[in-house]
């Protein structure tokens, strides 16, 4: 059977690879080509201008600021989201106190309900989530949910203008990103945890392991593959963040560009700023390079021995 193997594999891969080449690879090549032109995107005419767009980009402070915000989001949001996701999943599946008559390893009371509640944000589209939170962050002390809540519990002094405050705006948006994503990872990690044989936990419990030790010594190592997948998914979301910032932020990435991210800047460059598609394409290529670096680093540094069970 060995001689036909490659023909067999090629037979299966040809169609998807062809589609991949047409719909993914060719746009990349075209984007690179466009990034070296002064195309406006509105007419069929374009002139080749070499690396001029890249030169513009390197000297554009706003681009670096936007990239920096993407990096901040990339560093903060996945850690917080995955951390919370792991914590909640652990509590829902393993972290419960031992109860009489129940299995030795269970989740906290009401775990089934929590699982559903955590998943709620995942059901809503990003647009709805962002519009919803825009109302929650409304600075009005009686109309804004967050501020009126703070007022009602006597913490009126903590009322903020949230998205209007340059020091808080990015944090506010990152909080929504976490809120929106965490439920998915709770479910993903729950599924991963439920496939870990419970005799391992029981053995650990017999040896007197605490909840913390169980988590770090058993759950996390056995779940590492899933965490790694989650990390890559979150990376993609963080590199983007477009919809959250575009809908929620004041002044389209403000105040004072405090929440500017590269995809939003790219979009503005393409559709505004006298429609500079060439420059926007150069930003896309720059983002591609950053994303590739991230992918390579992620896959290299998160490589671990796989534990078979």
């Amino acid at each position: 059977m060995r001689h036909g193997k490659y023909r067999f594999i090629i037979g299966f891969l040809a169609a998807p690879l062809a589609m991949y080449a047409v719909f993914v690879i060719s746009p990349f090549i075209q984007a690179f080509q466009i990034s070296m032109t002064d195309w406006s995107g509105l007419t069929p005419d374009m002139n080749f201008i070499g690396l001029e767009n890249y030169d513009k980009l390197v000297h554009n402070d706003l681009f670096w600021q936007a990239l920096w915000h993407n990096v901040i989001i990339l560093l903060v949001v996945p850690v917080v989201t995955l951390g919370l996701g792991l914590f909640f999943a652990f509590m829902l599946n393993v972290g419960g106190r031992r109860r009489k008559g129940a299995a030795a390893v269970t989740g906290v009371r009401g775990a089934g309900l929590y699982k559903v509640v955590y998943f709620f944000p995942q059901v809503l589209s990003i647009t709805i989530v962002a519009v919803l939170w825009q109302q929650i962050y409304n600075p009005d002390p009686s109309d804004g949910l967050l501020n009126s809540l703070l007022g009602a519990i006597g913490l009126g002094s903590l009322q903020q203008s949230w998205l209007g405050d340059p020091n808080l705006a990015l944090i506010c948006i990152m909080a929504v990103m976490v809120w929106c994503s965490v439920g998915f990872y709770v479910v993903l990690f729950s599924a991963g945890m439920s496939s870990i044989p419970s005799d391992i936990y029981e053995a650990a419990l017999l040896d007197g392991a605490t909840r913390g030790a169980t988590f770090f010594r058993i759950t996390l190592p056995l779940l590492w593959d899933t965490v790694q997948t989650g990390w890559v998914y979150m990376g993609i979301i963080c590199m983007d963040a477009f919809a959250y910032v575009q809908i929620m932020s004041v002044q389209n990435g403000g105040p004072d560009d405090a929440t500017q991210v590269v995809p939003l800047l790219l979009w503005k460059t393409a559709f505004r700023e006298s429609s500079q598609y060439g420059l926007a394409a150069a930003m896309g290529i720059a983002m591609l390079i950053v994303t590739m670096v991230f992918a390579v680093l992620t896959l290299r540094f998160s490589r671990r021995e796989r534990v078979e069970f």
Partner: protein
Amino acid sequence: MGSDINRRDLIKRAMAVGLVAAPSAALLSACATSGGSSHNSTAPAGKTSATNPLGVKKGVALEAFIFKGGFGDDYVKNAEKDYKATYGVTVKHTGTQSLGPKLQPRFAGGTPPDVMDNSGADNLDTASLASQGQLADLTPLLDAATIDDPAKKVRDILVAGTIEQGQYGTSAVYALNYAFTVYGTWYSQKLLGDKGWAYPQTFDDMIKLAATIKAAGIAPFTYPGKYPYYVHFDFFAQIAKVGGKEAIIAIDNLEDGAWQTDSVKQVAAYYEELAAKGYFLKGSEGMTHIQAQTAWTKGKAAFIPNGSWVENEAAPTMPADFKLGVGGTIGTGSSDKLPFGTVRAAAGEPFIVAKSGKNPEGGMELLRIMLSKKHAQAFTKSLKSLTCYAGAEEGLSLTPGLTSASAALKAAGSDVVNPRLQDWYPTLSNETIGGATGQLLTGKITSAEWIKRAQKGADDTKKDSSIKKFKHS
């Protein structure tokens, strides 16, 4: 197992490729390069006649792409019905809020719709379209007879300034702005009347009044921090009032040092003082226009810089006895170049006709139908906004806000200012300067710093060769 293809490696590689693929969504528009030959498929014009001065051919398809925002799109649909009655084709109609993303590939591919209302936050840059030769010159429409009176040309019934508004640096007219908007400081006449407050005429009086208003437990001003350029509606008009029309024209023309004049300094200092004294509703900097307008209709703030569309937009939360009114542009006093009563007004909702569309005559004809008294009055009546059809509103019973706007416009006479910075250089106006204005109103920067940033933004725009420049006088 023995297979030398490791499934996990495959998945890992697929993941890496997938990760790389994600941002490609933003670049997908790149495909457009392949479909890039422009073709002129304009249908041969039909015979012109007294009732069909543009020579529209019967039975030729027409496609309309209409911004469906504050005004909705029913008013265009009504005109399309009349079009169908005359020319026998159902107009292919798309009403949307996101014109840009939908229209861009159509323009790039050479198959744009015939007529568009290119408005809203996601619109295509009309100035770019015009300078790239994508738009039809509407001069034939302006020289055509009106529907109501064959002896009158369309250009004769338009409010002064409408034609100029549609010009982008040449004599060609590329956009017909249908709705006519009066900008200014909007307030409840009932609130001011009940409290016995008179609308002031100078910065000093406004600051005095603001102190009284604040003492009464009301914030004098609010504004949508999400879109700080709303403040420019007042701000730029005030620059024109203090420094004369030439001051704002210098700014529009990106002249060197146009922001560093005394008149700009005086106006900016006024806003710095308002901010320093806390005369803006707390939290305004984080509000959307709806949130700010709601706080204002609830009586939490007395004044809001806005346009006459606010009457329609804020209607759901506006009390029935609110008695909306608009105040004239205020300034430093009698030494100002323009008198009190000066009003900022401009035509909005730019309707454009594609040059390479299949039926440009039909597109213009649809606009000619909309410029009939019947449709102009229906627009004013149902949408509470004036149109560029001068005096079409006469004889209608108008709402309080519209009455006030109409009166302000009449009182202003020729002292109507229309800064163009926002439609010529939207990024400079709304984002660079808008961002600085947001900082000025929260007291984070001084008026001197604001002027520095505005001037630098204007200079950078001037230097950027990829931005098309415009001039007016």
